[in-house]
Assembly symmetry: C2
Homo-oligomer: 339 residues x 2
Amino acid sequence: MQRLRSRVTIRDVAREAGVSVSTVSRVLNGKDDVASATEDRVRRVIDDLGYASSMAARSLRSHSTNVVGLIVPDLWHSFTSLVIRGVNQVTAAEGYDLLAYASARHEQLSPANWEERLVAELNGSVTDGIIVVTPNASSYRTTAPVVAVEPIQSSTEFPAVLSTNHQGVLEAMAYLVSLGHRRIGYIGGRADLQSAQRRLDGYIDGLAAAGIPVDPALVLTGDYTRPTGATSARTLLSLATPPTAILASSDETAFGVYDVAAEYGIRIPEDLSVVGFDNTAESAVANPPLTTVDQAIETMGRLAAQIMLMLMRDKLWETQLNKVPTKLVIRQSCRATGL
Amino acid sequence: MQRLRSRVTIRDVAREAGVSVSTVSRVLNGKDDVASATEDRVRRVIDDLGYASSMAARSLRSHSTNVVGLIVPDLWHSFTSLVIRGVNQVTAAEGYDLLAYASARHEQLSPANWEERLVAELNGSVTDGIIVVTPNASSYRTTAPVVAVEPIQSSTEFPAVLSTNHQGVLEAMAYLVSLGHRRIGYIGGRADLQSAQRRLDGYIDGLAAAGIPVDPALVLTGDYTRPTGATSARTLLSLATPPTAILASSDETAFGVYDVAAEYGIRIPEDLSVVGFDNTAESAVANPPLTTVDQAIETMGRLAAQIMLMLMRDKLWETQLNKVPTKLVIRQSCRATGL
DNA sequence: TACAATGCTGATATCGATACCAGGAACGAT
DNA sequence: ATCGTTCCTGGTATCGATATCAGCATTGTA
């Protein structure tokens, strides 16, 4: 491959085409005041030399890129991937490039504000606006707009997109209660996440609505992962009076419950009803297919992108909290109790 | 939120701290020839003002960022996500940032070289090296290194990471033959992809190795998607003498076969054996769990990142074609024929 | 005492692009 | 002949950072 000795710059193009850099710049930016003969010549040289303008230089000078930034804690978890997918759909349709940034510096920076520096660094320099996924900070110093998806802080100074975690769990609880369950176990998420808190509230309110007292032995704190789901399930199923249903606060957690049920010879849904939360792709093909709360994560991404584009175009967006509704997806992991 | 009127620049910091921009720059870059009193003062001002240096300006001047670029056709397909995950593991461990770029301009540029411009634009300006996933071009004009993952062109002028598609399918075929299958259907991938061609070759060579003639009616071209998998399965299962086994060239395709089998009341694996390719997360929880060829996509990402870091550090990497072995994962979707 | 070495700091050029202003050529109007 | 337009083009300042060189104290050495 031709590893060029040095970059092809706008100067090289100008020299080769026998015009000034200004003219080349005009051609690049599609200004209409260039003679068509000149434009053709410049374009030919651009192709010949394989010239591409430097993003760094362009954005440094023009203070405008065509790029929406996305700052994510990682680039592979199912939640992240789905948000990215939703955002990408909108940005691509509107002709914006999308740049997802996962920093190597999480650990080194104080965990509370690792994204703050990134936002400042990227915004107004490489991106025209930034969407942050599950951010910690409640405010950023920046010239360009910021939109959050599932922020950890409950109140933020920028528009945020949230799912109705509380409502979703409430609905799932109502469903289990309608099937006759009264001992319902709960495996939560990491206590420091706002979403986990909301879901737990939904569980407690769901019990209250059915007039069932909370049994602390049935309420466990997890971390949304499969192994922890399994550990928690072992605890619940070893109780003297085990629950007849388990509400897991994530699909991964629910699969941990599946694992332990198989291990104990407990049949789902005959002996134990299980409800998840997320509606990941796996939940549809699991055995049995998992009844779960659909978070519409992709929709959240789309909404965040739409808000972002509005703000970038100096339109206003009044609402700070934008909720995307959850929906209970009933499959085959629950059954009425035999009572 | 404080939307700042204008960016905080290094100049503002210098003025506030009563030093020159040079000194601030030295502090930022951890040079050791700054008096510690001065350094403390500058750092305090940096924190107070919430200053973060502009990536654009920094890389324009220094010609070195700490960023590895990743150019992908999309940001959500399972293949892409897994590659990103592998790359991210290595870059994060080595202290490099990762920037994944999905262009909105696919469609507008001629499809054959949409990534070429992106590579030139990013490299030597925003990134120090670029990993391209399933690229079309076989060469790029760039000053910084390029590494490809599953390039479409068979021969490239830069290091490429490939999986042993041919070997993987061959192994799957040997397995099916060992179970007694002789009528084996094949649902391929998009004909223009090198990977699809390799897998098809594996199928044909697998038949040849077993001394079975190719029946054109059993060989269909798909596109790796679930709906097309279903359509193809309908065709195969409607034949006068339907196959006893179907080798799907992707897990998604295999799930399409599952769908149609359920529709037709055909039991897997009792009536029909199915083998997939990819070993996605879904394949393990499917009903029945899918026997599939594990591509070790994450490993491919890791290897690509390792090669990239070598090249960025001016080490040499001789081998152009780096193959990551596939492995047959036997689950419960196949059974010996009743003959 | 003179002169070099060291430690720290500032001034200036530069990276590659765009914004802005100025100006030449061709043309018609006065 | 002079002037104002219109159309096109070039020169120069500038974006925010780093690299390089130079300079000023202060200290060490011949």
